[in-house]
């Protein structure tokens, strides 16, 4: 197990190196830079000024070492290893420095922007994933235990529907009905206009014991309720979509377990059906489900690009879209690299959890 872990860790680091290179190179091969807007807005700006600005952002250097460096004086010579900007950037990223935003909020540190947005994404994703899980597992189990019953049939149909309805459609439908036409919920955003703060600030204040946002002290409950009212529609859309997949997954896992010989043994030794299902069936069916959950961790960070866009929820996904459209590569790189790290390590975590929970699995 230790050998396996060490090997997987080394593999993960190599994988991450290639992923970060791919992300960096794709972004930096795109024509047009952060100063295109500036050039349009101010036609009198000269190329020399643009060059100087580019040099400030390291953009005058080649991506990989070994290519030729820009002319310094009149001598042109191959770059030294530390002059390729990909490796320089990677070095900074390794110390947790993703640079500063170019265009979206010029000059603000990317880590600060991501930290701010993460709160909103986490609230939305945590609520919806938790609800999806709490609903999907019991339904999937019930459906598997009563295979081919009417309930099973409608559950399967319901899951098929959920998987075939894209979130941008359900999102718009739900919004047009419950927010626009009926007016039961807000059409988007995180808080009503009269509120002194939003749900993330209220939680922040609670957890910091009233030091983070003192003006919110005592009003947290009201603010949180308002936030939940705003989160209801986007969360519902996400719950329906995620749940559909998980119901089918749980049902399949449970059906697989129900076929096993130890289930027959449990029944044969006279255990109550309830115990057989809950103790012998459910616990074994949960094994694949836990790995699925581990693989889902990156979503808690990356958020739901489409749903956040429809409901103007100021989370990570929406920030990513904004950054892509306004060529703000430091933000894009920051979000993508962190997402990639989470993907790689949640894969690793899933493998480890699998071995811990299921003693039949041995890594060598």
């Amino acid at each position: 197990m230790t050998n396996f872990l060490i090997r997987r860790l080394i593999q993960s680091v190599i994988l991450l190196f290639f992923i970060s290179a791919l992300i960096y190179i794709i972004l930096n091969l795109v024509p047009g830079g952060p100063f295109d807007m500036l050039r349009q807005a101010n036609p009198r700006i000269t190329q020399t000024q643009i060059d100087r600005l580019n040099a400030m952002l390291d953009l005058d250097k080649p991506i990989l070492p070994g290519e030729y460096c820009p002319k310094i004086g009149k001598i042109q010579e191959p770059c030294r290893l530390d002059q390729g900007r990909y490796l320089r950037w990677l070095g900074r990223v390794a110390t947790g420095d993703f640079g500063k935003s170019w265009t979206v909020s010029t000059g603000v540190k990317v880590t600060k922007i991501i930290g701010y947005r993460f709160g909103y994404t986490f609230v939305l994703m945590f609520i919806s994933e938790l609800l999806a899980l709490l609903i999907a597992v019991p339904i999937g189990i019930y459906s598997a235990v009563h295979q081919y019953s009417k309930v099973d049939f409608s559950v399967t149909a319901f899951a098929f529907f959920g998987q075939s309805m894209p979130t941008f459609w359900t999102g718009l439908l739900v919004m047009s009905l419950f927010a626009v036409a009926l007016g039961w919920f807000p059409t988007g955003g995180v808080k009503s206009s009269g509120m002194p703060g939003d749900i993330v600030e209220a939680f922040g204040n609670l957890f910091s014991l009233g030091t983070a946002y003192p003006k919110l002290s005592g009003k947290e409950f009201k603010v949180i309720m308002d936030g939940l009212w705003h989160v209801a529609l986007p969360a519902a859309v996400l719950v329906y979509f995620t749940m559909a997949g998980w119901v089918r997954f749980t049902r399949a896992a449970m059906l697989e377990v129900l076929r096993q010989d130890y289930m027959r043994t449990a029944r044969a030794k006279g255990l109550a059906e309830r115990l057989v299902i809950n103790k012998h069936g459910l616990r074994n069916a949960l094994i694949p489900l836990i790995t699925l959950e581990a693989l889902n961790i990156p979503n808690l960070f990356g958020g739901a690009i489409i749903t956040e866009t429809i409901f103007s929820w100021p989370g990570m996904g929406r920030q990513l879209i904004d950054a892509i459209t306004s060529v703000d590569w430091p933000i894009v790189q920051g979000i993508l690299v962190i997402t990639a790290v989470l993907i790689v390590f949640s894969n690793l975590l899933a493998d480890i959890l699998y071995a811990i929970i299921d003693p039949r699995i041995k890594y060598s």
Binding site: L15, F18, I19, L22, I23, I26, L27, L29, V30, P31, G32, F160, F161, Q163, S164, M165, P166, F168, W169, L172, L173, M175, S176, L177, V180, A181, T187, A252, P298, G302, I305, I306, T309, I310, L320, I321, I324, T325, V332, I335, L336, T339, A340, I343, V344, N347
Partner: protein, 322 residues
């Protein structure tokens, strides 16, 4: 003598009539026909395909015909005098939504078909080569597949499709079809990995079977073994994956178009029609009427494809039941 011969001949005739040889695909089709949901899916999909194929003859309007007096018209709003009603209403420029949906179907279904075929082709070759050669070829190809699977997909799709559009050379070369070509290219880049893994797995298990050994003993070369023996025998999982992949491509393409990163507006697709619907005035049920129809097409297509895939899985390999 002649008598016995004719008796034998008639007996043989009789035997042939009784045991009409049934091909594998006839068996699949027979099993498929019993799967009600798959048949339902096939019907719906066929209906949608025919509608979009004959869009030009069925559609009551042309897809860019504007009527600026009826912007965001509701269902069954009256058209111009001596023109049919707008069954699904009109969009932001007063164009007939039903007509645009029919034309959009051509692009959405066409893009999905091309992307699926290309991804399957690439994935099959990569997987078969990887499985058949083994060794360092397998190592490199599979590590690369893993790398592609680990990348955050949707963000990179957005970045690639928005950045490829910036290249002036491509713009001049492709003109107005630029966004369609880009979306196909980008979706194929991220579409082949699943199939590659599937085919590799199936090839690995087939490789040690007797009939491959026999082919090799008869002097078949490596490529003949790959293309005439390994790939045809892995066809069942490939077909199922292709069907389900078609649905995923439809959703991804519409998602990109919906976010404004896919097929660009003069060319209608179901996804970018939904994006245009978002600009509808948020009063009463206007947004709802604008949203329902294009999304319903996506939903029905993906649902039917999922049903068909499910049916195919059962029909092609009864052991693979889920």
């Amino acid at each position: 003598m002649t008598d016995t011969n004719s008796v034998i001949a008639s007996l043989e005739d009789e035997a042939q009539k009784q045991e009409k040889p049934v091909s594998q695909w006839m068996l699949v089709w027979r099993r498929m026909r019993r799967h009600k949901l798959a048949m339902f899916g096939m019907g719906v999909l066929l209906f949608l395909v025919l509608l979009s194929l004959f869009a030009a003859t069925i559609a009551p309007y042309t897809y860019d015909e504007q009527d600026l007096t009826k912007v965001f018209g509701s269902w069954f709003v009256a058209g111009l005098p001596d023109k049919p009603v707008h069954v699904f209403g009109t969009d932001s420029l007063g164009r007939d939504t039903l007509t645009r949906i029919l034309y959009a179907g051509r692009i959405s279904l066409g893009v999905a078909l091309v992307v699926t075929l290309l991804s399957i082709a690439i994935g099959t070759v990569v997987g078969a080569v990887s499985g058949a050669f083994g060794g360092w070829v397998d190592g490199i190809l599979m590590r690369f597949t893993d790398l592609m699977l680990t990348l955050p997909q949707l963000p990179l799709l957005l970045i690639l499709s928005s950045s490829l559009r910036q290249f002036v050379g491509l713009q001049n070369l492709l003109g107005s079809s630029l966004s369609v070509v880009i979306i196909v290219f980008v979706l194929v880049i991220f579409g082949w990995m699943g199939v590659a893994r599937l085919v590799r797995g199936s090839v690995l298990s087939l490789r040690s079977m007797d009939f491959i050994e026999a082919a090799r003993a008869l002097g078949a070369g490596r490529s003949r073994i790959i293309f005439r023996h390994l790939i045809p025998n892995s066809l069942a999982p490939i077909i199922v994956a292709a069907t389900l992949g078609f649905g995923v491509v439809i959703i991804t393409e519409s998602a990109l178009s919906f976010l404004g990163f896919g097929v660009m507006p003069p060319v209608p697709t179901w996804g970018n029609m939904l994006n245009e619907a978002r600009s509808a005035p948020q009063v009463g049920y206007t947004l709802f009427t604008q949203t329902l129809a294009p999304g319903l097409c996506i939903f029905l297509t993906v649902l039917s494809v999922n049903f068909i895939g499910d049916g195919l899985r059962d029909a092609l390999d009864p052991r693979l039941k889920m």
